[in-house]
């Protein structure tokens, strides 16, 4: 998998987490996986179209999502409720927007599909069969996994 496609997602995640939560996120070791993926409990799936096809999955435990949404909204939530889902979707939108900005400025042309949020420990099986790169980020609120699978359109 081309690293120049992947690095912007890592850079964008780091940047947005730091911007929104005012704390650095610690990036763990990158690993290669094959689909299907088992969710930690709350996943956001965004598809990519344009010069590449593929998808990016952001995966976290529901508790992590709730803690992040509490900070973002400066409110107290006890469970994954619509406002939590909406806040996490917007957080991921910001990450993807930043990544796309970096990629577009490098001359790649990408478009995003709207984020889809799923809850539960389901197995995620997207239609595009690709090898995926998983990047873990450790935050003060829990772990966030980014699962990137992209390939150039020929």
């Amino acid at each position: 998998m081309r690293l120049d496609y992947i690095e912007p997602f890592i850079e964008a995640t780091n940047c947005i987490l730091e911007d929104v939560f005012k704390m650095p996120a610690r990036k763990g070791k990158l690993t290669l996986h094959s689909e299907p993926v088992t969710s930690k409990g709350l996943v956001v799936v965004i598809g990519l179209t344009g010069d590449v096809e593929g998808r990016v999955i952001f995966d976290m435990e529901p508790e992590t999502a709730v803690k992040m949404a509490c900070i973002m909204n400066q409110s107290k939530f006890d469970s994954v409720q619509p406002v939590v889902v909406d806040s996490i979707a917007e957080l991921i939108n910001m990450v993807m927007g930043k990544a796309l900005t970096i990629l577009n400025d490098k001359g790649f042309s990408f478009k995003l599909t709207p984020p889809m949020v799923f809850t539960g420990n389901a197995v995620i099986n997207t239609t595009i069969r690709l090898e995926t790169l998983v990047v873990p980020f450790t935050t003060d609120y829990g772990e966030l996994l980014i699962n990137v699978a992209v390939r150039p359109v020929v």
Binding site: P82, D86, E90, G97, T101, D105, L112, P114
Partner: protein, 136 residues
């Protein structure tokens, strides 16, 4: 006798009306806080570009603050359609997509400014105040 809201020699600043357009509740709430910070009022909200056009001509806000990526109709298409019918419309584009080509396109379609997400509330407020200056 002193009238409510008016002190001798000093008028209450006008309360500008805003239309906030974003498909995210969180993002609308966040921008709403910025609007309140500058003493404005959120006259309406919309979640798609199509709704934004309807709300714009119904509410006639002083400023529209609009996201780019939305279902049904994207922000730039809505901006273009609003400007076609009202060349004086003041629209500020807010987006997590900040690449040069998109920013240039937004400005060429008539956007007054571009705010990149995530934004610091005081920075966003500064941009909105700058856009409001042209009303005075």
């Amino acid at each position: 006798m002193q009238q409510k809201g008016i002190r001798r020699g000093m008028e209450t600043p006008p309360q500008y009306k805003f239309l906030i357009v974003d498909d995210s509740v969180f993002a609308r709430k966040n921008m709403g806080k910025v609007v309140e910070m500058i003493g404005g009022v959120v006259a309406g909200e919309a979640t798609t570009g199509r709704e934004a056009i309807d709300q714009y001509f119904k509410l006639k806000p002083d400023v529209v603050v609009m996201d780019v990526s939305m279902p049904e109709m994207e922000g730039l298409e809505a901006l273009s359609k609003i400007k076609e019918q009202d060349k004086d419309a003041r629209v500020i584009i807010v987006s997590s997509l900040g690449y040069e080509e998109l920013v240039k396109k937004a400005l060429s379609l008539g956007a007054k400014h571009f705010i990149a997400k995530p934004f610091q509330p005081d920075k966003a407020a500064e941009i909105i105040r700058f856009v409001l200056k042209e009303i005075k």
